[in-house]
């Protein structure tokens, strides 16, 4: 090894040790760097941009419209219908999966690599690490939604067209209004996305297993959705995390109703707050006995 050595003069009596400290911005930048270096994040973003183009083209070429999904029967009438059909489909398991790929892994990967003991022996607190990872996961989820939505809407409008859209109470919506409503509908998916991100974070922290953190939110989402279609569960339906994925329906009615959206905001906020609170406490109290 090299002969050069770092020399430190022993501190004189009473001298304090050098003060160090990480800023949340610095830790956040580091988490973003790590995420960028991971192939899976890049693949998800790429797929979110390209897959809708392919799917819209396929839908456009289909002879028989998918009448079992809302707006399915209008896919040849208006590109906006295609965009909303895709939104309905995305809310089922695609969006929870896209966010869980990062959020369900961002904590558990530290357990997988054994690096908790590396990062927790620096000057960043557990709280700072928690928030940096959470913010990274949330921003990623919103970016994915933005890319997926923009790609879907643009390819729908360009491939199928921007004809007027038949709304959910039979009314004809002119092109310009339809465009605004479609964008607003896609944007409303950000709320349950946030909820699923926080759920994935909780599962990531609790199970310390990246595979479980990614798969479990998707499975839970599917179960919630199935449960929501049952009759007789009215008291619980509004509290399922999948219900807000359909709150945009009210925007497409002749007399717009926004109550489901307002309820959705509350439900997602509560889910997010509770999941993050539990995850935070679990992380703060954990004894790192292995990596």
């Amino acid at each position: 090894m090299s002969a050069s050595v770092q020399t430190t003069a022993p501190p004189i009596a009473g001298q304090r040790t050098p003060r160090r400290g990480a800023s949340l911005a610095g830790v956040l930048a580091w988490e973003a760097t790590k995420l960028r270096a991971q192939a899976r994040a890049r693949w998800v973003l790429l797929l979110s941009a390209l897959a809708p183009i392919v799917i819209v083209a396929i839908i456009n070429g289909q002879g028989r419209p998918p009448k079992d999904t809302l707006f399915g029967r209008y896919i040849h009438h208006s590109g906006f219908a295609v965009a909303l059909l895709m939104l309905g489909f995305a809310g089922q398991w695609v969006l929870p999966l896209l966010t869980a790929i990062v959020a369900g892994d961002i904590f558990a990967s530290e357990d997988q690599h054994g690096t908790w003991k590396t990062v927790l022996t620096r000057s960043a607190s557990r709280g700072q690490l928690f928030w940096a990872k959470t913010i990274t996961a949330v921003v990623f989820a919103l970016v994915v939604l933005l890319i997926l939505g923009a790609s879907t809407i643009l390819s729908s409008v360009l491939i199928v067209g921007h004809q007027s859209l038949t709304g959910l109470t039979g009314q004809l919506i002119p092109s310009g209004t339809a465009a605004r409503l479609v964008v607003a509908s896609w944007a409303s998916a950000a709320l349950p996305m946030l909820g699923f991100t926080c759920l994935a974070i909780l599962l990531s922290v609790r199970t310390r297993n990246p595979a479980f953190g990614i798969a479990a939110p998707v499975v839970i989402g599917m179960i919630m959705q199935l449960f929501g279609t049952l009759g007789g569960v009215e008291a619980i339906r509004p509290w399922l995390l999948t219900t807000p994925f359909e709150s945009w329906h009210g925007l497409l009615a002749q007399h717009r109703f926004t109550d489901p959206l307002r309820t959705g905001v509350l439900v997602c906020a509560v889910w997010s707050a509770v999941c993050l609170a539990i995850a935070y406490i679990l992380l703060r109290r954990r004894d790192i006995t292995e990596g």
Binding site: S4, Q6, A9, A13, R20, W30, T115, R122, S123, I288
Partner: protein, 322 residues
């Protein structure tokens, strides 16, 4: 006014259910010294060091680093402290340099020059650009030391730093630690190898199943160590034994399981005995040292030796009696 202690641990305890991993351990490390925590696997050394770093919360006791406790200053308790627990782990999909850059960010930043400096100290400059996933065990160990030095620590805490290294790596690691200590760094290291601790450390705490069995200097430990054993093989062991009882009554000599004789004493005493044997006409076939005295003492202190812990060294019993 006395200098503030680098490490001041008092009464640290950790229980996992019915098992007590660390039982009322206290130790003090003064600035500038090299301190060893010695014990077999499972003695609780790693658990203790994890508590030092705040990775595990103790059930009882306090740990102060440079006079500060975690309850008072939070993460700042680790200002001036660097090190790693067991084999250091990094992100395998990033290069060594990137890993260090990230860890520097978790410290509040470091200049690129400093990064180059620490990489040079551990001799990883040429491999710094490769992904850590491709590093050998020894390289990861060295990167761990580099990561620790990146914080400009005043106290270096290393958990079994030579563990898993090949003999050349072990030699280099010990040399590095000695150089760093000579430069003024306080070093606290744990080990299960008495020889390593004897070579590098000034003071030592020996642990067994969670409790302390010895505190003190290496020099004192040597004084209390049993005499060096010398294994003697002769052409006629029975005659050699008889000679010992006749002419060297003060010399402790035993026959071991193979029939060889083991003599315990100073070099001069053993020399005299050998001369007697040979002069008597018994041919000497072999003369070698048995285990080092401190090693022997270590095993006595930490394993369930038939004799148990020597009374004068039984720290735990002394504490209990007090």
């Amino acid at each position: 006014m006395p200098e503030v202690l680098a490490v001041d641990a008092v009464g640290v305890t950790k229980r996992y259910g019915a098992l007590t991993a660390v039982n009322d351990v206290s130790l003090q490390v003064a600035q500038g010294e090299v301190y060893g925590v010695l014990g077999p696997n499972g003695a609780g050394k790693t658990t203790f060091l994890r508590m030092l770093f705040g990775l595990i919360r103790p059930d009882a006791g306090t740990i102060k680093l440079f006079g500060q406790a975690r309850e008072e200053v939070g993460t700042h308790v680790l200002d001036g402290v660097g090190g790693f627990i067991e084999s250091p782990r990094f992100y395998p999909y990033l290069s060594g340099r990137r890993n260090l850059e990230g860890l520097a960010r978790l410290d509040g930043g470091a200049t690129p020059d400093r990064l180059d400096e620490v990489l040079a100290i551990v001799d990883l400059t040429d491999r710094a650009g490769d992904k850590v996933g491709g590093y050998s065990f020894g390289m990861r160990q060295r990167l761990g030391v580099a990561a620790s030095l990146l914080r400009d620590p005043l106290l270096l805490v290393l958990d079994e730093p030579a563990n898993g290294l090949d003999p050349a790596g072990i030699r280099d690691m010990r040399a590095l630690i000695k150089r760093l200590a000579a430069g003024g760094l306080t070093v606290l290291l744990s080990s299960h190898d008495m020889g390593e601790v004897e070579e590098i450390c000034d003071n030592v705490t020996i642990m067994r199943t969670g409790s302390v069995v010895y505190h003190g200097g290496i020099a004192e430990l040597r004084e209390r160590a049993p005499d060096q054993g010398h294994r003697v093989r002769t052409a006629d062991n029975a005659r050699a034994l008889a000679l010992a009882h006749q002419h060297h009554g003060g010399l402790r000599i035993e026959a071991d399981a193979d029939g060889d004789l083991v003599a315990y004493g100073t070099q001069a005493e053993v020399d005299a005995y050998i001369t007697t044997v040979v002069t008597d006409g018994v041919a000497l076939r072999g003369l070698e040292l048995t285990e080092a005295p401190l090693e022997a003492l270590f095993f006595m202190l930490t394993e369930s030796a038939p004799g148990g812990v020597p009374h004068e060294l039984d720290h735990a019993a002394a504490e209990a009696a007090r």
